[in-house]
């Protein structure tokens, strides 16, 4: 019957909500804009160039792996490779040699993402795997931070000048027997740290810009509050306990929140949908674990910074957390 071929027949539901993967990915890109503008402001066009290099190489590797290894039609449309590129750049010092950034992109896309089967199946955050790979392979280049040089106003500083991050200064200082107060005296004030006027990775310096992006993602329902609040809250409380117990050995909790990759990690890295738990309870546990591990590594570990490691370790626990935090079933829910 000709009639039978005329109508589209498919199972219910026949309408769909407004959410789509493309909208989510572009939403994240929009949320990253303030942070990106701040880093261009403080680190100049080198920040822009480095971001372009990582984004382009991530897209290229994604395309090549799809086309030639998996022999699938291309999938750049989902936007995930672009976000991996952006986030990888945000986790690198802006003066990192381009070829290292390209190696980092290859690791992020090729190993962390496609070795596990591509979008949705990777257990670890690809951008963080790329960053940690670079940190271990090229420790000097990855910890040589350019001093921020505002595009407009500010003191003229020669291009080549580099310096340590506040976290590294604190770690060294405490090791050398300085008190936290002495160390803070030699650091940018908390106001400057909030705005981003300090050494650090390209996208981690400005807490305010990152929070702006986070609020945007909350409003668009791309993320929920659970992971960032649990992450930052636990870090603040645990850091605070240590500081109260021994104020001459540990930095205060506000310093921990504003320094290093804490904000970037809590808002953009830990909230990655693929590598975080499904349920709200799971997200709280995950965020709290990230905060706890970060403070542990920063205060007792060999590295001055622990956000990347903390998130990657918690990524490994996600399947376990998912299994332990099934949602409240209808009849048992309040």
């Amino acid at each position: 019957m000709a009639e039978n071929t005329k109508w589209v027949v498919s199972g219910a539901p026949h309408i769909h909500g407004s959410e789509s993967i493309t909208k989510i990915m572009w939403g994240v890109v929009i949320a990253l804009i303030p942070t990106f503008l701040v880093s261009v402001y403080f680190f100049g066009l080198r920040a822009l160039a480095l971001t372009l290099v990582t984004v382009a190489s991530c897209l290229l590797f994604e395309f090549l792996i799809n086309r030639f290894l998996f022999k699938r039609p291309c999938c750049l449309g989902d936007g995930s490779a672009m976000i991996t590129g952006l986030l990888l750049a945000f986790n690198l010092p802006s003066n990192l040699p381009f070829w290292m950034a390209i190696v980092g992109s290859l690791i992020a896309i090729g190993v962390a993402k496609w070795a596990y089967g591509g979008l949705g199946t990777n257990p670890f955050n690809p951008a963080l795997v790329g960053r940690v790979f670079l940190l271990i392979s090229f420790p000097v280049a990855m910890t040589t931070w350019p001093v921020p040089k505002p595009l407009f106003g500010g003191n003229a500083v020669a291009d080549a000048i580099t310096g340590p991050t506040p976290l590294a200064l604190a770690k060294e200082g405490l090791k050398a027997g300085q008190t936290p107060d002495q160390i803070l005296g030699g650091l940018p004030g908390y106001g400057d740290m909030l705005l981003g006027n300090m050494g650090g990775s390209l996208g981690e310096i400005s807490a305010i810009a990152i929070l702006l992006g986070g609020i945007y993602m909350l409003c668009r329902r791309i993320i929920t509050w659970h992971i960032p609040v649990a992450f930052l809250g636990t870090a603040f409380i645990f850091g605070g306990i240590l500081w109260l117990a021994a104020p001459d050995q540990f930095m205060d909790p506000v310093f921990h929140l504003l320094s290093g990759g804490m904000m970037l990690g809590a808002v953009f890295m830990a909230t990655d949908m693929v590598t975080s738990p499904m349920t709200k309870t799971g997200k709280l546990i995950f965020g709290a674990g990230c905060g706890l591990l970060t403070i542990l590594i920063r205060n007792f570990g060999a590295y001055p910074e622990g956000v990347s490691f903390a998130i990657l370790i918690m990524n490994a626990f996600v399947p376990l957390i998912n299994r332990g935090t099934t949602p409240k079933r209808f009849a048992n829910a309040k």
Partner: protein
């Protein structure tokens, strides 16, 4: 405002032209009455080719407890008994009747007066409802008399009337509540008498303020019946969700509403009960919403059962040129039809025509584990997990993930940003696990 507790989604309600008056659809030249229009054991036809029938003549018989008979919606001659695809797309037996005039069985009271006094006793009401072939008209087609005979260890405390109509586009229950509020409530009173309950609550969503006002006003004359406005949220019209919203009680997994003292009936069912009990009229016609974004004037039709979908579409000016999909029911749970020759049945609440550009599914992306399906599930399940285990044919895990609790509302698929066909996979899992459970029970 009250609503159910977990999950749910907020689709655009798209109640097009809801305030247009109801129209009677002309009787078509031939009707095609599906032999089984209920959930339960299939019926057998008791008429044969060439038999003369009147409106209200019984066409089928069924000895099973969970069953309902069908009556002739028209007068005329039985042309043939043959299989025709229904909304399930499977061919099922149907009785084709050539229409001649419009002669009714004499026992049916066709007078327009509203009969308020309920003279039948409780058991007589139940018997009448069974004889008149009344089934749940919200879509599930569960035989109504079965709900009125609870097992001995359970006692009904509440009768809940479902006037929620949470499916987008559909407006037939809304129309019915505006036009026949009193009859609905008399029908409800008959059900209360049959169940021996003192309290009934009508649940209506807040997007129907006129219906809420009119039903509230009418209910003042009915002791024990109250109207409760509910916050808009799909799937509030699902039985368990409605019970939760109206009474705060939760039906445990695998149990029935009667286990928490509730019986739920659609307002359209109550209207049919009124006609059966007070007017001796079998279920031979119903209100059907004909709607869609491209339909010039979406309308609610009162139409005889067995009317082909094509006759409804002609009445609204033909099928729009851009049409791509014809759905029996609403857009969330309705079934896509393969042919407009499919005929209306007791459970067909609407005919929705979607334009070609809305008819197709979008490109499917991998699951990004965002958890939106988990947040949306009104039963507190993990749709992504059920779908993944079912597709991997690991049905033991599918069962452990409580697939049998799924009410197939479609919230998971509606909210999936990767456009994954979650409900398709879940239904496959549910059907297979159901078979496994039945086989296991048969063995023990």
């Amino acid at each position: 405002m009250k609503t159910f507790n977990i999950g749910g989604v907020h689709p655009n309600d798209s109640k097009l032209n809801a305030d247009a008056p109801m129209q009677e659809l002309p009787i078509p030249k031939q009707v095609c009455v599906m032999v089984s229009q209920h959930l339960g054991a299939p019926s057998q036809p008791i008429v044969k080719k060439g038999d003369k029938v009147k409106v209200g003549t019984v066409l089928t018989s069924n000895e099973a407890f969970l069953s309902a008979v069908v009556h002739s919606p028209v007068s005329g001659t039985v042309n043939k008994i043959a299989d025709i695809p229904d909304a399930s797309l499977y061919p099922k037996p149907a009785i084709f009747i050539d229409v001649e005039g419009d002669e009714w069985e004499e026992s049916i009271d066709r007078s327009p007066e509203i009969k308020r006094e309920i003279s039948l006793s409780g058991p007589e009401i139940i018997q009448k409802i069974k004889e008149m072939g009344i089934v749940g008209m919200g879509g599930a087609c569960f035989p109504t008399h079965v709900k009125l005979m609870p097992p001995k260890d359970a006692k009904a405390e509440f009768l809940l009337l479902n006037g929620v109509e949470c499916e987008p586009y559909l407006t037939c229950d809304y129309r019915l509540m505006l036009d026949h509020a009193e009859e609905i409530l008399i029908g409800a009173s008959a059900l209360m008498k049959a169940l021996d309950v003192k309290q009934a609550i009508v649940g209506i969503e807040a997007n129907k303020p006129k219906a809420i006002a009119h039903m509230t006003e009418t209910a003042k004359n009915f002791p024990g019946i109250s109207v409760q406005a509910l916050k808009m949220k799909y799937p509030q019209g699902a039985e368990k969700q409605l019970i939760k919203a109206l009474t705060g009680r939760a039906v445990p997994s695998g149990k029935l509403p009667i286990n928490v003292g509730c019986v739920v009936d659609n307002v359209a069912t109550c209207y049919a009960v009124y006609q059966a009990v007070q007017k001796n009229m079998p279920l031979i016609q119903r209100m059907v919403t004909v709607t869609g974004p491209s339909i010039p004037e979406p309308t609610n039709f009162l139409a005889r059962l067995g009317t082909p979908v094509s006759a409804f579409l002609e009445a609204v000016g033909g099928i729009p040129g851009d049409s791509g999909k014809v759905i029996s029911g609403g857009p969330m749970m309705g079934k896509a039809l393969s042919s407009t020759e499919t005929c209306s049945v007791k459970g067909m609440s609407g005919i929705l025509v979607l334009p070609e550009k809305q008819a197709h599914r979008q490109t499917v992306y991998p699951c990004i584990r965002c958890g939106k399906c988990v947040d949306a599930c009104p039963m507190g399940l993990e749709p992504y997990l059920i779908a993944a285990t079912a597709m991997a044919k690991d049905f033991e895990k599918t069962e452990k993930a409580r697939v049998m609790d799924c009410i197939e509302c479609g919230c998971c698929q509606f909210s999936c940003p990767s456009f994954r066909p979650l409900l398709d996979s879940v239904k496959l899992g549910k059907a297979t696990v159901g078979k496994i459970i039945r086989a296991r029970n048969a063995k023990n």
